[in-house]
């Protein structure tokens, strides 16, 4: 069943990615169809995760590919909070192709099927993997919002005559939403790291490269919040969010092999 459910998810997310591309060229029907693609795809992916959890009788996303599957679901879920609104359809153009591509990678790694049960306890996996993934999903969304901010700011600075023909969310709104998303995500990452740290200490295990990279990521996002509190918002804040996201990408894709081995 998990195999059967994967394809409609990919189909809906793919349709959404293409739809948002069409909407960017000519706003209207394509954008509405894309939003429905996101909604339906997310619902089917929810069913896929439920099937995985039921078959596994626990937390089946302990592998890097499995966690990627869960990560995609969290990112799309976070996007859905705003994505259904017309001004944020452009955000879908950044989020949905990424979601579709990561889902394919997750499947290639066996993360969308029924895998081998992890030797870690369910509670540890839910707290550690779950919280870190929630935080990373938030950072991904914040980065997408920041990228949209920089694009919109560039259009205003270049005084593009077409700026009102294709209106985007306002600078102030994008900046505020990115800040709020990070403010929610950083505590989740802090808790996730803390749970992992407690386990490392109790099992007398050594710190690996992923742990170091995750800590660096945490520091960057803490710096993001501190600078915002000190009044450094707007363009600088957006660049820092993109740098933080680059670290999230490194942690998510480049180093899991080290951590999960």
């Amino acid at each position: 069943l998990a195999e059967i459910l994967f394809w409609p998810v990919l189909l809906f997310y793919g349709e959404a990615a293409v739809g948002y591309l069409g909407d960017a060229r000519r706003p209207g029907t394509a954008g509405r169809a894309a939003t429905w693609g996101v909604r339906l795809g997310w619902l089917v992916q929810t069913a896929l995760l439920v099937v995985q959890a039921a078959r596994e009788d626990g937390f089946p996303w302990g592998t890097w590919a499995g966690s990627l599957n869960l990560f995609v679901w969290l990112v799309v879920g976070a996007y859905l909070i705003w994505g259904c609104r017309k001004p944020y359809r452009l955000l879908g153009l950044a989020v949905m192709p990424l979601a579709a591509a990561l889902l394919v990678v997750a499947r290639a790694g066996g993360g969308t099927g029924i895998g081998v049960r992890s030797h870690y306890s369910n509670l540890f996996l839910v707290l550690h993997v779950g919280l870190v993934l929630v935080a990373f999903a938030g950072f991904t969304l914040a980065a997408a919002l920041s990228a949209l901010y920089l694009w919109q700011e560039r259009r205003l600075k270049r005084r593009e005559a077409s700026i009102l023909r294709r209106p985007a969310p306002s600078l102030v709104t994008l900046d505020r939403l990115a800040g709020r998303t990070v403010a929610v995500s950083v505590p989740a990452l802090t808790l996730g790291i803390a749970v992992g740290g407690v386990r490392l200490a109790s099992e007398h295990e050594s710190v690996d490269a992923l742990v170091v990279a995750t800590l660096v990521t945490w520091v960057v996002w803490i710096a993001y919040l501190v600078l915002r509190v000190r009044g450094s918002t707007g363009r600088h804040s957006a660049y820092l969010a993109l740098a933080g996201f680059a670290l999230v990408v490194v942690v998510r894709l480049a180093l899991p092999a080290v951590h999960f081995s």
């Binding site: 706003p27 209207g28 919109q152 205003l156 600075k157 005084r159 005559a161 077409s162 700026i163 009102l164 023909r165 209106p167 985007a168 969310p169 306002s170 600078l171 102030v172 709104t173 009044g231 450094s232 918002t233 707007g234 363009r235």
Partner: protein
Amino acid sequence: MRLVLVGTSHHHAPVELRERVALDREQAARLARELGEAVCLSTCNRTELYLEAEDVDDAERRAVGALAALEPEVEPALYRLRDEAGALHLFRVAAGLDSLVPGEGEILGQVRAAHEAGNPGLLLDRVFRQALHAGRKVRAQTAIGESPASVAAAAAALAEQVFGELSGSRILLLGAGKVGEHAARNLRTRGAEIVLIANSRTGRPKLEEQLAQADVVVSSTSSAEIVLDAATVEGSRRGRQLLFIDLAVPRDLDPAIHELDGCYLYDIDDLEAIVSETLAGRRGEAARAEAIVAGEAAKFHEWQASLDVVPAIASLRARAEEIREAELLKAEALLRRLDDGERRAVESITAQIVNKLLHLPTVRMKQAAVSADGVIYAEAVRHLFGLGEDER
């Protein structure tokens, strides 16, 4: 029943002529009542009379006479349209396709007001309702009315691109130029408030103090010098986003302001380029809007044509029902032996037979009505079934 339209608009008459035939709502309603079943649409860009009548030549003469009575010189500038062409014209008007600025939204409300104040019969009521529907459909399905069509509206829309919702945003108005006031009024209608007014003689310390409280600066002084420089702005920005709208010529605001982080400066040329681009966009959307309006005009044509055959269809059905009831009455002696359930079944079966027999002729007559054959079909049915002979 047929539709007649007589009127003039900005395409045919200059403002000096249009203003002499312009009517307020009360006068328009009175004129419509005088003309019988009529609606008068009078705006600053057009005065049009829509009449419904059997004798279209007479109706047209009366409408021309009514407008010529207001101003004899208007007669050569009048257009005269009938039936589908008249309906199509009204649909285009309601959709904003005949307006000076394509897609302007005010006209839809004016069409609604004219309909309410007028004296429409069945046909005019239908055509005006459909026009309102067409206008709403065009605005819902195209982007023709979404982008601003004036410098003032473009300034307000730009502010929304920076700040989003403008409620709570504060405007500093520099100078009291007409264009600047118009832009500030546009910002106010979107929720912003004018908190400060300064002029070219306001000193730098005072200006810095006022700037520290503002989100949008609209400038339109007649000063020959720069009124606000980048250094003053830098000193009072405090990390906030600021939008500067410079509508003055020569310019009031230092162009270097635009280089500051978080500051966006648009002068009159920038705004005019934006308006020109959005108007081009509106014209692009107009092609889609025309297709929607043409579809509505075709529907109106079908409806109007069906009016020719409706009496014949009604007579045919009445005749068939009459025969059915008469035959059931003849068989009353036999039917009396049946119980209530059986009698109802017989009634139902005979009604179904009549309906099924008449279904196809009804559909075919309606289809023929859309082409030119509707009246011929209707006459043929009347002749074949002897409809209306009893009355003769």
